[in-house]
Amino acid sequence: MSVNSLDTFLNFLRLLFKEDSRETITAETNLSTLKEWSSLQTMIIVNEIDKEYNVVLDVDDLKNASSVRGLFEIVQLKKR
């Protein structure tokens, strides 16, 4: 699976959440609606995306991404 695929991104994100909530996360999930969503969790995600994809997301990126798919598209766009 390519690093640039949505599936890889989805699996990568799932691992950043608690085991019991991983299953519920799909490409259409809005992360900010998850119980685990917090400022700490946001920073962890931004940091991990930076390490994995070399993209530093900002506050607006996270606000604008209404789903995991949307976030993936922003990461792809910023990578260019």
Binding site: S38, L40, T42, V46, K51
Partner: protein, 352 residues
């Protein structure tokens, strides 16, 4: 980008004082203990030092300075200038450095300066004090950097409570014709002035009844206008994006190889940021000391405190080439290259 070098100034000594009162992050109120554990391990902060209501940053700095002057055997009458860097001064006015001059028993011929700077404050202060000595013909200066930032944190702000801690430091600088040059790279992002701020109590938003009204920003964050507010993700973003390029630029302009630096002492914002910056710069983690576990984020003093807490051998700091970098409130970012040679360092003081 303000890159510059300063000649003929040596760092002769460095010391730190912390409040005796320890507060454990494990004792923080939190609805979810698992989440608290995750927070502590991500921040890397287990314990913090919190000043008592009567302890000021100036008290910690005066204690650190007294011990340092004694260890250096410096005659107080020879001190030509005091620079005090803080965001928690004793009074609105006069500047705290004046009272420090009197409390330390320094001569009336001593010049005093107050500098309002935070996380980048040590490097900022070092650049000013060094430039002053280098160009004035004066011989000796004290750089005192301290904050009791916990005073500004709302007791109902769970996002900031686990981070901050208090400390005061003293550094002794001397004109020295044989000193290695100091190199600096300083940048300012004033458009982000509101990312870390205390909005009330200054001339813009004077202290009023409204300053004492708690507002809820999040179920875990309630604060008043006199409390510190931080847009955490914006500051995190700034740290991830701007620090590594600033450091690389400094090394390049100073014509210094990364491998020639023994220690990279960064502002101790939190462990996740420290690790990320080290990774971006491809630095061996052993070269990036952390004092976060037991001292937390002490704002302006993280750089000197980490040097004192981690790099002291015997009564001195190990001779080494260091890159120091502070970043935060302002937003501002300041890095420096400093060679440590025989820098005297007394033990950390615990002030009751």
């Amino acid at each position: 980008m303000a890159f510059f070098s300063i000649a003929h100034v040596s760092l002769k000594g460095i010391s730190a004082a912390v409040p005796q009162q320890r507060v454990s992050n494990f004792d923080l109120e939190h609805s979810d203990k698992e989440e608290l554990q995750k927070l502590i391990s991500t921040l890397g902060i287990e314990e913090r030092r919190v000043a008592t209501p009567s302890q000021c940053a100036s008290d910690l700095c005066v204690a650190a300075a007294e011990k340092l002057l004694s260890a250096l055997n410096w005659d107080k009458s020879e001190i030509d200038a005091v620079f005090f860097v803080t965001q928690t001064p004793d009074y609105q006015l006069p500047g705290t450095s004046l009272h420090i001059q009197e409390r330390l028993g320094l001569p009336k011929s001593c010049a005093t300066f107050d500098i309002n700077q935070g996380c980048a404050g040590y490097v900022y202060g070092l650049s000013l004090a060094s430039a002053f000595l280098s160009s004035s013909g004066l011989k000796k200066a004290l750089l005192l950097v301290g904050d009791t930032i916990t005073r500004l944190i709302s007791p109902f702000d769970q996002s900031l409570l686990p981070l901050f801690s208090d400390c005061g430091t003293a550094s002794a600088l001397e004109f020295d014709a044989k000193a290695d040059p100091l190199y600096f790279n300083i940048t300012s992002e004033g458009e982000n002035f509101d990312k870390i701020m205390v909005s009330d109590g200054g001339a813009r938003n004077g202290f009023s009844e409204a300053s004492l009204v708690y507002k809820e920003y999040h179920p875990a964050v309630k604060r008043m206008g006199i409390h510190l507010a931080m847009k955490g993700l914006d500051v995190f973003n700034f740290s991830l994006k701007k620090v590594a390029p600033n450091v690389e630029e400094l090394l390049k302009k100073a014509k210094r190889e990364r491998s020639a630096i023994d220690y990279f002492v960064f502002h101790q914002a939190n462990q996740m940021i420290l690790d990320s910056i080290a990774k971006k710069l491809a630095i061996d983690r052993a070269k990036v000391p952390s004092s976060l576990k037991t001292f937390g984020n002490t704002s302006s003093t993280t750089v000197p405190l980490t040097i004192v807490a981690n790099l002291k051998t015997g009564n001195t700091i190990a001779d080494s080439s260091m890159l120091l970098s502070g970043f935060g409130v302002g937003l501002s970012l300041a890095s420096a290259l400093v060679n440590f040679k025989g820098v005297i360092c007394p033990d950390i003081i615990e002030l009751s």
